[in-house]
Structure formats: structure tokens, C-alpha cells
Amino acid sequence: MSEKEMPDMGVLREKYLRKGMLPTIFCNGCGHGSSLDYTFRAIEELELDMDKIVFASGIGCSSRIPGYINADGLHTTHGRSIAFATGVKAANPELDVIVFTGDGDATGIGGNHFIHAARRNIDITVILLNNFIYGMTGGQVAPTSPKGTIATTSPHGNLEGAFDISNLAQALGAAYVARWPVSYPYQPIKSIKEGIETKGFSLIELMSPCPTAYGRRNKLGNIQKLWEWYDDHTMLAEEYDKINDYGTEAEKAALEDKIKIGVFQHIKKVGFFEAYEEQIKNLMANDDKKWGGV
């Protein structure tokens, strides 16, 4: 329906935001709010019925997002949103389930649910706001924090390797995987749309600036500089791969500093609940045959 023009923010606010919950609790310059904006626009373009979408989340700044949406919201326990979402979907596969989660929520404490949902190809859309840090609790090191990160719990510099979440999801065969910085509006909107439309497990990893708990401590400058950081430190997957394959040594070395972005995976797979419904249908038909109809 992209022919229809996108309504303006006044209209979107009225339609999608939960009255009485705004403004958000997010800090000045936090990127999390933008991801919600993009989600509204994706939903608007898809003309989905907001009565039939459930927004689930765990705990974290990012996980506060469903609180702002005028729709069914399930703000669960830290790290478990995907497991809750699996249940929501299992009990009523007709509902669309969109999970908002953080890097810590989804891959720190919640890593297991994340990988199992991807493996099972559970038909949900996960919008993961990666700010490389535990924002809500004040800036502890996250499994996504780059080596050397200064955080309240890595005051001498982080020594751990970081998860590349999209890469992990890809390795697990997720049906849809994309990564973008929130500072790019159009690509996230498109990816969220595609993610929702994809059968099976979709991950949209949005890199979201956290000036308070990450930027400040890691000398990434003020809000503006932090938002700009992504311009210099990201590269489209195609280009990245090309350099990686055919680039000069110097070009390759420069990749060290770059995060790959783009749509990494988009495959047609039977969603778990599709397969399940099929199995149920067959079992019932079998029984009916055996019993001569119920």
C-alpha cells in the first residue's frame, strides 16, 4: 500500500501512542524512541489491525517501548520476552507478535530464548535495540560491548569478545535478519515491514545511541557526535563483503572499524506454527477417520 501517503506524526501519535504514557522515560538523545516511530510506520504501511498485534518486551530501557503503544502489551521479566512471546503465539497463532528487546535483555540474560526461538523458527518479529550497554541499570558492560569499552562494571576496559547478534541469528538460520542504525529511518522501516511479513523468526537489530550510559563514558562525544558515529562506523554488507574478498590489505584493515549493516538473510521457511497447525489438522483428521467423525 505504499501508494497511500504516510500520515503525519500528529495522526500517528493519535493512532498509535498510548495516551497518558508519553513523553517517554528515555534520556535526551536516546535512539530508542525512533525505533518505535519506525515500527508505527511499518505497521501503517502494512495496514495491520492494531487489535491483533501483541507487543512483548523484557526489562530495560528498550523494553519500555510497548508501554507507549496503544495495543496489547506484555512487559515481562528480564530476558524472557521471547519465551513469553512464544506462548502468546502458541495459544493464538493468529496474533502477530512483535518483541522489543535490548542487547542485554535478548542476548545477555535472555540469550537462550533467543537462540531457541530462532532455531524453532517461531513466527515472531524481534526488534532488538542494541546500544552496546545496559542502559536501564546505569551503564554496565553488555555482551555486545566492544572490547575496551569502559562501563561501570568494566572500569578498566572490557576484555570480553562481543556478540555479533545478527551474525548469530544468521548462523541459526533465522528467516529474516537485518541490522541498521536508528539514525537511518528508511531502511529500518522497510526491514520491520519485511520482518513482520516474513513467516518464521525475524530479527531486526537496530543500533541505538545511548548517550547517557554508553556514549559519555566511552568518549563518543555529545548526542550529535554519537549519532554521527554510526555514519562513520557502518558499511553496507555488500560493500563490506566485497572489500573483504577483493580489497587491498589497507582496505581490509580499515574494516576492523566498521560494522556491517543491511539485510543479511531473508529466506522462505515454514514457520513453526504453520507446521504445527498442519500437524494438528492431520492428527484430528486421522482421529476423525478412526472414529468415523466426531
Partner: protein, 84 residues
């Protein structure tokens, strides 16, 4: 026309810095939280590309496509448009 929901604006200046034609500026107007909110410059080349609306992390900007001539007037609409 650019409407700013002043009380939702946190003052990040993303809109100001990312407007492709530098049409916005931080104004003298302070909201409830003591934040100086952005406005279209007196003299601006805003072509309603909506980038500011899209990028504002706080749902504070509305770009309504109206005729150029109405724009001046619209700048005056401030605060509280949608909050309840």
C-alpha cells in the same frame, strides 16, 4: 508546516543537525522541563522532506504537507497539541 510538541521535546537537536537544508534552529522558547525547543528558522528552505519528523526520537515533530504560504503561520502552533 512543522509543529513541535514542545513538552515532549528533550532538546537533542537531532532535527536541527540532520535537516538537509538547515531549516531548523533552537529557539528561545523553554518548555516545562527547561528545554529550549527547536523552531523553523525565520528564513528557511524547508521542503517538507519529513526527515526531522522521522528522526525525532520523541514523536515531537509533525510535518504536515501544506502550501508554502501557510507555513509562517504554522510555526506559531506550539506545545500540547496531542498530549492529554
Amino acid at each position: 508546516m512543522i509543529e513541535i510538541l514542545d513538552d515532549w521535546c528533550k532538546g537533542c537537536e537531532i532535527c536541527v543537525k540532520r535537516c538537509p537544508v538547515e531549516a531548523l534552529e533552537i529557539s528561545e522558547i523553554m518548555n516545562k522541563k527547561g528545554v529550549r525547543v527547536p523552531r523553523l528558522k525565520e528564513d528557511n528552505k524547508c521542503h517538507q522532506c519529513r526527515l526531522c519528523e522521522l528522526l525525532c526520537p520523541d514523536f515531537a515533530i509533525t510535518v504536515t504537507k501544506e502550501e508554502k504560504e501557510e507555513e509562517k503561520e504554522c510555526k506559531l502552533i506550539i506545545g500540547g497539541v496531542c498530549a492529554d
